[in-house]
């Protein structure tokens, strides 16, 4: 496997070069190279601890890199000393554990980003938030508080909160892993909608069937490296690497496929 992964487009939206990250002596990302084209949906699969979440957190500069570059529209955003705030507002992130603000109503959760970060006035931001919630089928929960919602509803609010910033790229970090099985579908429907709208997405997931359905490309991570990547038909139909085959076998044996 060569380390460089070229994308389908000549000017990638997001481009990771030799990204390295360790926590103490534990190497989590061991030289990641990845290009994400505009409108492309890339899924990250691999065992727990393979580096999927850290990769997403690094792409959003929530974790500082040890080494490497991250080009966003051709600009290295991992450059030391660069103010990360203006970059983060252009990159949306949705977390496994929702991380909604529990002291704010659902509408305020969605409106707070534009209000504080973009300086949108309260009335405009609130109207936009309600529209966004309506789009995601949550109009009737607009005045509720996060703790009063089901997990699936909370995760949809979290997606709405992120979309309210009008991001150019969405990073989805195992967004259905904390949900009861019957609630996974409503969240995945939202992701389908995003793909239909042409959103660029980097999506770490354990939902293999959905991964197969939605991905333009699938990356299999193993010990902090992208061991194998390609279109879903290839990764799931004819994996080249032994590790990939073993991983997919374990997933199948666990009845998760």
């Amino acid at each position: 496997m060569t380390s460089s992964i070229s994308s389908i487009s000549s000017t990638p939206k997001l481009s990771l070069r030799n990204v390295r990250k360790s926590f103490g002596t534990n190497t989590v990302l061991d030289g990641i190279d990845l290009d994400v084209a505009e409108g492309e949906v890339i899924t990250l699969i691999g065992a727990s601890g393979s580096g999927k979440s850290t990769l997403l957190r690094c792409a959003n500069l929530l974790e500082p890199l040890d080494d490497g570059e991250i080009f966003f529209d051709g600009v290295d955003i991992a450059e030391p000393g660069l103010d990360p705030d203006p970059i983060r507002r252009r990159i949306g992130m949705v977390f496994q554990s929702f991380n909604l603000f529990p002291h704010m109503s659902v509408t305020k959760n969605v409106a707070i980003g534009p209000r504080k970060v973009l300086g949108t006035d309260k009335a405009t931001a609130t109207t936009a938030a309600v529209e966004m919630l309506t789009r995601l089928g949550l109009a009737d929960r607009a005045d509720a508080y996060p703790d009063q919602l089901s997990g699936g509803q909370q995760q949809r609010v979290a997606i709405a909160r992120s979309l309210a910033m009008n991001p150019e790229v969405m990073l989805l970090d195992e967004i259905t892993s904390a949900l009861d099985p019957e609630l996974v579908g409503e969240v995945l429907d939202v992701v389908r909608g995003l793909k239909a709208d042409g959103m660029t997405m980097l999506f770490a997931t354990h939902e293999m069937a959905f991964c197969r359905e939605i991905s333009d490309r699938v990356c299999f991570l193993h010990q902090g490296r992208i061991l194998e990547h390609g279109p879903p038909e290839q990764i799931f139909g004819n994996p080249q690497e032994t590790r990939t085959r073993e991983f997919l076998q374990r997933v199948t044996d666990a009845g998760r496929f």
């Binding site: 705030d85 991380n99 603000f101 980003g113 970060v117």
Partner: protein, 277 residues
Amino acid sequence: MDQRTRRQAYEQRQRKRSLIIAFLSTSVVIGAIVVLIPLLPRWDRVRKSFFDGEIFADSFPRLLRAFWLDVQIFAWSVPLIFALSLAIAVSRNTRSPALFPLRAAAVIYTDVFRGVPVILTIFLIGFGVPGLFDSRAWSNPLIWGTAALVLSYSAYVSEEIRAGLEGVHESQRAAARSLGMSTSQTMSTVVLPQALRRIVPPMMNSLVSLQKDVALVSLIGPIEILRQAGLDKSKFANFTPYVAAAVIFLAVTIPCTRIADYLLNRERRRTGATAVS
């Protein structure tokens, strides 16, 4: 369907039973106190020197007027304590290297003022600081007594606020930062509001404690309720004024703790989180 299930009927019987048992046991305990204590050999003398109705009635209005001074000291102290302790807690949470002196000062401050008894702080500041000035206007014991209370209590309350700040999960910061919020926006819109809700109970405890410690200021001069009670005690050669003062304190502190509990429960209900009993 109005038919109760057997389980519901059983549970209602159980509830009724617990209620009766609680009522009976409370009656027995109160009855024992009322009946047994007066049987003690010298109860009669204690009753005269602590629970004299006439002295109580005579002293009570005077104590109440003196208590107004406690209320004023308290009312001045609370916003000052809140502002100072918030500033200390937030500055201990900063990361910037330029603010190192601020962080160090905050640590030394909390260590020193939590380590010295409140009464000593009141003596040292109340008698010491006025000596720095020529003018008599600066020797008002009210000002320095209040300042000592503020300094002492801010050390405790800032630790409560800091614990509250640290109790807000890291993932909340990550969510706020991922939206593009700056560190200070994250602090003011996401972390601080959650922390403040969390620290209501410990902070109310501190405030109830402060209501009582205001009386310590009497030791450097002002005639507030404790001092007045002492004067009345000497006048009547009877301890009843102290009991009256205690009654006045209780009349204020008990509702305060109840209000704190009520506010906390209302907040829990509003955000939907259920309390585990």
